[in-house]
Amino acid sequence: MIEFKNISMQYPPDVFAVKDVSFKIQPKEFVSIVGQSGTGKTTLVKMIIAEERPTRGKILIGDWDITNIKHYELPVLRRQIGVVWQDFKLLPKKTVFENVAFALEVCGETPEKINRVVPQVLKIVGLGDKQERFPYQLSGGEQQRVVIARALVHRPKILIADEPTGNLDAINTQGIMEILKKINELGTTIILVTHDREIVNSLKKRVITLDGGQVVSDQFEGKYML
């Protein structure tokens, strides 16, 4: 379970990126965090992977308080969470296979397991025949699929998708959302951060709405309200 307890992120003197945010996300939930640009959605995502630290409050993942996580614990945390970024964040000098394998290599998996698992995951996302390509040789939709493959290859309990379809066309967007739904059905908690109204409304899942850094709505089977 992910729990945000009275989380605030303040920039001096009195600017709040997020203010007094509290919510719980249960295992296997599919949650959309929505809001207009600048409402603190990405800040919340960054806090879950400890890329940003809150100025007040607590963040718990399971029983682990990650609010003031130590530097040497960061890799351990991030290996348990998969993240899909809007700007992909692929390693440009590594092939598709190597990008996905990297997530297993940092976990210390053996070459044998990597050679077995990575092709399977790439097949799931529809890139089984493009393992030796480099990111610059792929379309935007294909690159995002590689990112998804990398995010779930190490079977994380939590997958965060921060505007995963922001740079994609409608067809690719639909494809990506289908993959995320499938992953959630297999038992992974999904946190989708988006400002795409149509995606949110079509999902019919829990929606947490942010406005001005604060939670203004938290609805199961919610809709995009703003």
Partner: protein
């Protein structure tokens, strides 16, 4: 687990190196040139030291004895002088040999030769030529020769002037050595800075990737070590290229050294071969050290926590 990690580090380093081959070529070229400058400075120091040593060897003190002093007495002096600490050799030249040398020296001067013919006897006495181990050892030799007890035996003293020359040569040698050392240190620092910045610039191209690797869950060591190993690759290649380059350059320069110092006096390639392990070892230590240090500093800067 350790073997797998080692395998991964080497694999990442090798793949990085190959996929950025032009960056690797540029980096190793610059490192090679820096190492080369350092090697040339060492070679120059070697030549300068040899030049100074040759100059020292030209210095000697000649003692001309009066013609009436017998060879036995002079040879007794020779034995005593050889016991002085710092004296390398004392050469005895008989009066007859001295006369022959004199005639050879002034072979073109008919006036001197005819004057010699007029004399009934050999006007020259026996000579002792004293050579010291080093410039500094002549002080003691000169002290001994200045002893008043020797005055009745000695015809001519040309070693008084040598005092000034010897002192001057010592000063010049010392100054040249200091300048050589200063220049060597300066150029070594420049070479180090150039290498340092080259490696940092090479890693600068990876800056966004380093951040991504951290976000995916890679530990600092997992990210850093392939760059250290890649730095070692650069260093190994640079040392190899520099060492290979010494041979044709040494061969090209040798004829000039032979002409200046005389054959078999200073053989660059022979020196390199006899000190091969030391030369390559020091280069490797320096190049690997600076590479790894530069990589560490640069990677540390770009890994975002």
């Amino acid at each position: 687990m350790l073997l797998v990690s080692l395998y991964r580090v080497l694999k990442f380093a090798a793949v990085n190196f190959w996929r950025n081959i032009w960056l690797a070529v540029v980096t190793t070229t610059i490192m090679s040139m820096s190492l080369f400058v350092v090697m040339m400075l060492l070679g120059l120091n070697l030549v300068i030291n040899q030049a100074i040593h040759s100059l020292h060897e030209q210095v000697d003190v000649s003692v001309y004895f009066k013609p009436e002093i017998t060879a036995e007495v002079v040879q007794e002096f020779q034995t005593s002088l050889q016991q002085i600490p710092g004296v390398r050799e004392v050469v005895y030249i008989s009066k007859d040999a001295a006369l022959e040398n004199f005639k050879e020296k002034f072979a073109d001067n008919q006036v001197i030769l005819e004057s010699l013919e007029e004399l009934a006897e050999n006007p020259l006495g026996d000579t002792l030529i004293i050579q010291g181990e080093s410039i500094e050892d002549y002080d003691l030799v000169l002290q001994v020769l200045n002893n008043e007890e020797l005055a009745p035996y000695i015809q001519e003293k040309n070693f008084q002037d040598y005092n000034t020359i010897i002192t001057k040569i010592s000063e010049i040698s010392s100054t040249v050595n200091k300048i050589g050392l200063f220049l060597s240190i300066m150029f070594l620092l420049i070479a180090l800075l150039v290498t340092f910045n080259t490696i940092r610039i090479a890693i600068y191209t990876y800056r966004s990737e380093l951040g991504i690797m951290r976000l995916v869950g890679a530990s600092k060591a997992f990210i850093e070590w392939p760059f250290f190993v890649e730095g070692v690759f650069y260093a190994l290649i640079a040392v190899f290229v520099t060492t290979i380059a010494i041979y044709p350059i040494g061969s090209a320069v040798q004829p000039f050294l032979d002409k200046f110092f005389g054959p078999s006096t200073l053989n660059i390639l022979q020196y390199v071969n006899s000190h091969f392990i030391k030369i390559v070892g020091v280069q490797l230590l320096g190049a690997v050290g600076i590479s790894v240090f530069s990589s560490w500093l640069a990677v540390r800067k770009y890994i975002k926590n």
